[in-house]
Amino acid sequence: MTALFDYLLGLGDDALVAAQRTAEWCARAPQLEEEVALANIALDQLGQARAFLTYAGELEGAGRDEDALAFLRDEHEFRNVQLVELPNGDFATTVAKTLLLSAYQNLLYTRLSRAAEPQLAGIAAKAAKESAFHVSYASVWTVRLGDGTPLSHRRMRDAVEEVWPYTHELFEPWAAPEAGLDPAALRGPWLEVVDRVLGEATLARPRDGWAATGGREGRHTEWFGPLLAEMQYVHRAHVGARW
């Protein structure tokens, strides 16, 4: 049970922090269609986070609900990968982050939707559909920017380079027995998706080098503290209040 609790936290925290970053685009997107689409992605991610965290809280049985888990844990208690903490940067960086994360999430959720654990499988089945849209949205934009103007090509290329070291952590050994999968097994299919999109975008896959690690054990980037401060401040300033 502890392993499953921890695993649900990881899934929920990935989605929660990704939602927080995606939502930062509000009123800042390059055009209205992107305002709508990014809000949509953020809402999906937030919905996934709520489902995973609520389930984690029930499983724990200590009375922690989604809000207690989201707003009252300290930095080192979060189990998300560092990838989702990266600042949004320009639109290309956000597209790169979304592509590389959602291609992984889509494969993961699809596999988890066949897990023996029914509640986990149920949440994952819904999330799998949502993340398929995220992959498709980010793929379209990767291609548009990669195969757009010289400037957008350069920015898209730099963005993929910048985010790449943070993708290795997605495939580190980390899973509950109930999940019935080894994350490393997702890497091959993930590379297929990513290579296809990058190829169409006239971009090369970056070379593997330094790899970020530690998020699943609660070690995060320097960007994560300020993100949590912003996210948790109002909740913590009114302990015990209902909203």
Binding site: C26, R28, P30, Q31, V36, D90, L145, A241
Partner: protein
């Protein structure tokens, strides 16, 4: 020409809708474009004051509700720009008119949102006032606008209920600090909400023509009164006092009387001197400018893609 004018007049008279393909007088077209564009701009600028609270929302449920609301506003902006385009306007040009300050947006968004209670009060009062303004526009004579308004009004009343529900939670199940936040927010937003209906009728030069064209169905003062009458009992249910000592039921009129509005304040804020005018415009301008390379890339890619598909047709 006389025929066309007569057909247009008859369409208006019979409460039928003018459609994009129909002939319409230049003044009608211009008035419609301006009104729709200003409405679209207001939706877009209106994302900012509330949107700033998404990352700080105090519960995940409230975060989701707010995110969905702000997304709706972007969607509203999108339909409305499309409606303006059916009249021959161009979205890029309209955006530039906004950014250069040549077209207005609703002045209400030049006030700051200072606490999470503001999110609730904006839903209750600002969306409430918007709905009073907009419900009659669902019968506007211009078809695409009227149809956009039907969808928008439906979503707005959903937002209004959610705002009111947040305030109810804060007032009835909240802490004293939360109640104080609600009272403070109501104090700050009440008068600006009343100003959302525009200047009093005797100082509103365009009202008569807009009503003749059935672009508008009620005068500013009629709508304002309707809003006050609707809101007073809601305030009572919430347990907040509206900041107007002259506010009271007048059984003779069958309406609430209320105090004098500070029109000089409205004028000042409209003319650019509100607390947040500069900030709102700066954020909008930065988003537009920072996004230029993305829009250009999309256009360049579309040209390449269509060149390829033309080539494929030729081959």
């Amino acid at each position: 020409m006389a025929d066309l004018q007569e057909h247009f007049d008859r369409t208006i008279e019979r409460d039928q809708r003018v459609e994009p393909r129909d002939w319409m007088p230049d003044g009608y077209r211009k008035t419609m474009i301006r009104q729709i564009a200003q409405h679209a701009h207001s939706e877009i600028i209106g994302m900012q004051p509330e949107g700033a609270w998404i990352t700080r929302a105090p519960s995940l449920r409230r975060k989701a509700i707010l995110l969905a609301k702000v997304q709706d506003e972007a969607g509203h902006g999108l339909y409305l720009y499309c409606a303006a385009e059916t009249l021959g306007a161009d979205r890029t040009e309209l955006t530039e008119m906004l950014i250069e300050g040549r077209q207005k947006y609703s002045s209400i968004f030049n006030y700051p949102t200072l606490t999470y209670a503001d999110v609730g009060v904006i839903g209750w009062l600002v969306d409430g006032a918007a709905i009073c303004n907009q419900v009659p526009l669902c019968r506007s004579s211009y078809g695409p606008y009227a149809r956009a308004m039907i969808r928008i009004c439906k979503e707005e009343s959903f937002h209004q209920r959610q705002g009111y529900e947040l305030l109810m939670t804060m007032m009835k199940r909240g802490t004293e600090a939360q109640r104080a936040m609600v009272r403070d927010a109501v104090d700050r937003w009440w008068w600006p909400s009343l100003m959302m209906f525009g200047p009093p009728d005797d100082a509103s030069p365009n009202t008569a023509r807009s009503m003749a064209w059935k672009i508008k169905r009620h005068t500013n003062d009629e709508l304002r009164q309707r809003f006050v009458d609707m809101t007073v009992p809601q305030a009572e249910a919430l347990g907040v006092t509206l900041p107007d000592p002259e506010l009271r039921w007048n059984p003779e009129r069958g309406h609430h009387d209320f105090g004098a509005i500070d029109w000089s304040e409205l004028q000042r804020v409209i003319s650019g001197n509100g607390p947040c005018n500069a900030e709102r415009m700066a954020v909008r301008r930065a988003a537009h400018e920072d996004g230029a390379w993305v829009r250009e890339a999309a256009a360049a890619h579309a040209r390449k893609a269509s060149a390829v598909s033309r080539q494929e047709v030729v081959v």
